[in-house]
Symmetry: C4
């Protein structure tokens, strides 16, 4: 039986896009390692002393990896059922950006730094891990974070308003001669302080400035409790609703019953007994 081009395309698709066959999994592992190595090479090449000695070797290795990634990109384009849709997807764009900078560097010096965008390809690792127990964990995390979003937005918004006001006050109090050269600088300082990063490149000197700074610090130290509380509660919820959704009512197919429920909360029919899990 002869294999048609369509068969070939499906075989390539299986290997490249799916991760549930041995060869597909092998492909993903090899891909991850070459991405890791390629990112490491770009990083090392930026170190002046390493560049001076191994620059030529790193340059060649970069080209070899770029050609390999280009072949992979073309194979993806060819085998994808809807090539154009793939090309515009998040990973399609990232895959392209992982190749382009090397060519650009022929014309613009330094543009190969952009190769670090390849690090984003590492996010594919989750697909590889998908086969294991990581799916459920990632799902719980995602559900919790999605549910937290509106509350986090309200929180972030309040923080940004506070930071704008504190930053301006500090600019007025401390003034340009003590490092607070402009309001944006003051806002930058306020963010550095409120997030408890505290570089110390700019720090208050006047008594009034230090009192305001102290209040900002205690505020920042305290309000970290808010996003933490939000995410924790949502995570507990996501996990509970995961433990809960295993039982389905045989009468109305309703889901989401508590573990101690004996009757369906939607139609009142008796629920099947809870299986050990």
């Amino acid at each position: 039986m002869r294999r048609t081009p369509a068969d070939w395309r499906e075989d390539i698709y299986r290997v490249i896009f799916e991760a549930d066959t041995p060869s597909g999994r092998l492909f993903d592992v090899v891909l991850l390692w070459s991405v890791l190595i390629s990112v490491a090479l770009v990083m090392l090449d930026s170190v002046a002393s390493i560049h001076a000695v191994y620059g030529a070797w790193l340059y060649r290795a970069e080209w070899v990896l770029t050609v390999l990634f280009m072949v992979e990109y073309l194979a993806r384009l060819v085998s994808a059922p809807r090539p154009w849709r793939y090309a515009r997807s998040f990973f399609g764009v990232v895959d392209l950006l992982a190749i382009v900078p090397t060519y650009l560097s022929l014309f613009f010096a330094g543009s190969q730094m952009l190769l670090v965008v390849r690090a984003l390809r590492l996010l594919r690792v989750f697909r590889v891990l998908k086969l294991g127990r990581y799916v459920r964990e990632a799902a719980v995390l995602q559900q919790a974070l999605r549910a937290s979003r509106p509350k986090i937005a309200v929180f972030l918004y309040t923080v940004l308003t506070m930071v704008a006001i504190i930053g301006t006050l500090m600019y007025v109090i401390e003034g340009p001669e003590r490092g607070f050269t402009s309001i944006p600088t003051g806002v930058y300082w306020a963010i550095v302080t409120l997030t408890t990063v505290g570089y110390g490149d700019i720090s208050p000197v006047t008594p009034v400035g230090r009192i305001l700074a102290s209040m900002a610090m205690i505020l920042g130290y305290g309000i970290i409790a808010v996003p933490t509380g939000i995410v924790t509660v949502e995570m507990a919820r996501a996990r509970d609703s995961g433990a809960v959704s295993t039982r389905t009512c045989h009468t109305c197919t309703g889901e989401g019953h508590d573990l101690d429920a004996r009757h369906c909360k939607f139609c009142g029919a008796e629920l099947p007994p809870l299986e050990p899990f």
Copy 2:
């Protein structure tokens, strides 16, 4: 049918104070954007290099926006059912403070910095968001924070006492010649350390000072758990009391039914309808 002045006033009131009509919503969105732009202009004007080149333009834009905000303020005063009550409310004062500094800057140089107070007007954004799902989220957050207040007060009080004692000890141990010029400076340092901000503008040098500092750091690192725990527990509570209604099954008096439950999960009887809350 002719429109009376009272009709006009009510129309203006609808647009300016309410956000549930298309024109009211549009007004709020336009207002938010002009506040954002006006805050950005004040910030940019404080950057010396930008002020040198675009100072004149920024000055004019500021006046345009100030006039617009003044018109809005007057419209609010005119259309409010009780103008005096509005004028003394939080947003009434903020709305006034958003106009005054520009006029003041005619007499006192630099007072236009105070325009940053306009950032507070951004808090109106919550009113705009009110129409969406943000109401419930904000309510849960508020309820949790209100319930946490007494415990947070006890916590803050303990922290301030600790900071006063640690700061004085460091002043005695390290002394003025190593940056700890006074007890207030020592307290400032203690706050910087306990909140894990750590600027490094003042840092202990003597062995005893470093041992005390290490203890303060570990303390600060550990006690962040307390407000976080408080807020998390209250947030879980606020959410539960929201998600689990106070409905009781009229047949078996079972409690703890989900908001989407129609039948008692203990005996299967129909539940009373959910009241709006």
Copy 3:
């Protein structure tokens, strides 16, 4: 009816030691304010520029307050049912330490700094607040922290071992010429890093040192989750056990029944119905 000395003593006792009569409460409030003022005076006196101008006034104010505190201390001694027991109690010692340094300063210059110990007297504030809703909150906090202690001890112990090893490694890697002058200095640096304080007075320079430092930072960033988790869980527990203990079995007087329990978990008798709360 003539008042005996014993009556007088009891009156004084009521005012000074108790806080549930109007005069007792007034006494506590006045005491708190004078402690606050006295602490503020000591702090201000340590500022060189203030001392130069107002030093004499502050000196007199200090003596006035010291005499007042001494009168109060003697009144406490006289009115306490067991004077010796009071004198050895925590607050008895603190009350004494709040007077002594002023007298000491007649002989030893600078010893009046120790007056800051007066800040500890502020902890009496909790007794004043006791009358309000703060009792229950403080009790919940205390119960949670007491229950967390063994787990926190295990955690602290592990952190100290890690800090000792990381600090020594950094001393070996970076060496004295880069600020890591000894192993204790290295341990100090490790604590500064692990607690995310990060002064920057000492920071790694070599590549290996920076890699180790990065690992220490991520570790410190992550393990903050452990004490937070511990305290949060215990706090949820302390609060729940508060919500639970309201119902008592009428047969065996057992307490601690869940909200959804219908029978006593100790003797099996039917529980009284749950009252609305």
Copy 4:
């Protein structure tokens, strides 16, 4: 009755390896103190001023302790039922490493620093504590951390990808002349920033760099909520599954009984006895 060598061996084994006899416990306490003292000596010896004065004494004390630890190591080897298995175990290797550096220091100056590895022996402390209530606490902590591992791995992986991208961007934006000498340096800076350590040895200066840094800080400030949430939820779970036994009522199959329950809280029937776990 004469004691055979096997008896002796068992006696030694009891004392050295077990901690539930008085002599075994005494041995562990003595061991812990000598480890603590030995670690303190190594640390003090690294301080130049102390080494200059007490160097000779510290040297002798080190040898005394090393000989003691060697005797202990040999006793462990002799008395262990499977000496080879002990020698290759974690504590076997640590026990050996606690002796070797002193001998090495005869040939290589400075190698006695490695004696700090002795700090790892302190982890034996958990075995001593085992006798108290710390077992259950440590078990709950361990169970929670083990359950958190896959989610923490997903989290760490995401953080490392972010750090790689942010670090490279900062290298491109700020450049070598502002301290960002290479991409690895940029990544180091990104870790220092994201974990809110913030040394300030390298900090952004350009406006674009500061905006990116601000975003990284807010990100780092926010995502600390994720591991905290994970660990808190798992800890609540571990505690619940510990506190609420898996006992089922044999009459109504009700679950979720407290550890101190003797009767089913749903039907009142007697519960099966609690098995030791």
